[in-house]
Amino acid sequence: MRVRSFGSGAAMAALLIAGAAFAASREDNLNDPITGQENAVLADAPNVPPPVQRDHATKIVVHLEVRELEGRLADAVRYTFWTFGGHVPGKFIRIREGDLVEMHLDNHPDNKMPHNIDLHAVNGPGGGAAASLTAPGHSSVFSFKALNPGLYVYHCATAPVAMHIGNGMYGMILVEPKEGLPKVDHEYYVMQGDFYTQGANGDQGLQPFSMAKVIDEKPEYVVFNGSVGSTVGDKALTAKVGETVRLFVGDGGPNLVSSFHVIGQIFDVVYPEGNLAAPTRNVQTTMIPAGGAAIVQFQMSVPGTFIIVDHSIERAFNRGALAQLKVSGEENKLVYSGKTFDLVYQPEGTGIRVAGQGQIVAPAAQSKAERIELGAGVFANNCQACHQADGEGVPDAFPPLAKSDYLNGDKIRAIKTVTGGLETKLTVNGHDFNGVMPAWSLSDEDIADVLTYVYNTWGNSGQEVTPEEVRAYRIKAQ
């Protein structure tokens, strides 16, 4: 290993403790002699091949078989996936820096399409794509020396590349540093991808790929490991309290960047962008570029189901980017108490809008016109949800305010109704209502404004209500 300056010894020690891997130089890896040969042990997500145990570089033979297969994208939603090895994401490849990889890309004869492979771990034109364009029923072979350690995405790069990636053609290759990675209890493989179906999210049946949506970058599905619900329930990731979990996380895209997050679990260590030389600590959410990767690592402190999401949150809730990590073991009430009490919250006063009352200086209307204008806002914020924007209410539920005999008949009763609420049967314009109106903790000014607005809208009587009148007649809270 070449002599380098790491700065102070203390800083170096800190980095080592954090799990930093310095690895060798590219030159060292280029010159690292190859001893022996082995076939790569590959794994399907969420599994990861075992750590490399060798203390020397070797020749690794990797066979990736491309299969075009119909499979499940979501419940009752089928899709024709294009895969490296039969599943999305593709097989996880694990090698050591300095290794010589002999890559065989085998395009199954049942396939329709030509395919190739671009491994981001390769230094060379197209990352191998230029050497691996392969017709159905044929194989391409090329080799590369692993010069840079790290976690890398591979993908098909045949034009139109967004269609090949969009159909699931991506996976990851881990190039371990010579000294390996720190030992952990569990390693898992999680890869995000976006899918573009002609039907909307949830439309059933075999869904064709949508060229228009992929060009617009508007996916119908954003998923982990190839389908909605791939990693939940019985298929969730598992660990025990006290164990350390390492996730190899990739984003195949083709278009979306991931805001990768585990709900309720801080990442103790993150290797951003899969860069093993510069781990960071105590991370909540890490950004993973399309065509990029990260390694996240954390120790479980308490049991429970931890939800893995793309924290660009709509994707998690509506498009499928959700997986589970189930952790068993002893509770630790000091780390997390759980719910200790379940009480009804009773704010002071009768209404619900008490926060900040008296602190906000509300504008005071200087004229009837201003009062109507301000009252429109009060109405929209407080009354409109039930009485409706047109004042017509909802039949059998919420009485109308428009041309309301109950309202126009008695201004003082209106003030008392708004300030004190109403919980009796009443008849408005000949229709019976039997609901509940809450008492509103609004200022005298606000109530004067909103009543004036209501009286001067929808063909009502046109009278004005003043704050003085509200003060005089309001029902006071008990």
Binding site: A131, P136, G137, A159, V161, A162, I215
Partner: protein
């Protein structure tokens, strides 16, 4: 430029026929006469076999004839009866790989009775070209084939949609029979049944060519592909050119057939 011909740049191929009063002409030999016209190439990379023509300019296509449909198993059987050296037991290894006529149980026996009208597949470029030569024809050039598909801009969205549909259909045991609806020229089944050989399939993309040393081999993969084409939203066209680029003349594939072309009638 050839007279007052309007070219809409950015579309795959908008052509104005130089022959007026076009009608579908189906000759007795099952061929369609296509009029001369202008064609906007999809790839703005000069083909290896092209003259010094500007790759971004419209190209003139001379009148030619093209098989209305891909060559079927029944037609190929007739050829094998007359030309024994192309039977699967006799073909030289140089001219076809191990999957030559894979669906045929024996030399003169297409897969099954129903396969007669299906496009013949698992034929190499050498075998396809020999078949066409036996009829006094050749394989169409890539430009002729693409010109026939472009169909003067007619039905462009239908062609794209049908192509994408076909891409998404998992492979069946055998391709559907010929006899789909004709396009404006009267040509059938250009998409949705099989890929088709062209005479100069290897002339455009160089990604499959490991001896390439001119540094242009990025033209057909990843983002590099989008830089040199007329319409980067035409995914099926990318796929056709990628497929051709992945082939070698002795290759055969389950979804690869051909049709023949000839000079103007």
């Amino acid at each position: 430029m050839h007279g007052a011909v309007a070219i809409a740049v950015g579309t795959l191929a908008l052509v104005a026929p130089l022959a007026v009063g076009l009608a579908v002409e189906l000759n007795s030999d099952g061929m369609i006469a296509l009029p001369a016209g202008l064609y906007m190439p999809f790839l703005r990379v000069r083909a290896l076999n092209a003259s010094n023509a500007d790759a971004t300019a419209a190209r003139r296509i001379d009148a030619f004839r093209l098989d209305a449909e891909p060559v079927t198993n029944a037609q190929f059987l007739d050829f094998l009866i007359a030309h024994p050296q192309w039977r699967k037991s006799r073909i030289r290894a140089l001219f076809a790989d191990d999957r030559y006529l894979k669906r045929w149980p024996s030399d003169l026996e297409p897969a099954d009775a129903g396969a007669r009208d299906e496009p013949v597949t698992n034929v190499s470029w050498f075998a396809a070209e020999a078949y066409c030569k036996a009829r006094g024809l050749r394989l169409p050039t890539t430009e002729q084939w693409e010109y026939a598909l472009a169909d003067e801009g007619r039905g462009r969205e239908t062609v794209r949609a049908r192509s994408l549909e076909w891409f998404a259909e998992p492979n069946g045991a055998h391709p559907p029979s010929v006899g789909g609806p004709p396009n404006g020229f009267g040509v059938r089944d250009m998409v949705g049944l099989v890929w088709e050989w062209t005479l100069d399939f290897a002339a455009y993309a160089r990604t499959g060519e490991s001896r390439d040393s001119d540094g242009k081999d990025s033209a057909n993969f990843c983002g590099g592909a989008a830089a040199g084409v007329a319409d980067a939203t035409d995914y099926p066209a990318f796929m056709r050119y990628s497929m051709r680029a992945s082939l070698k003349a002795d290759y055969t594939a389950d979804n690869l057939g051909f049709r023949c072309a000839g000079g103007a009638p």
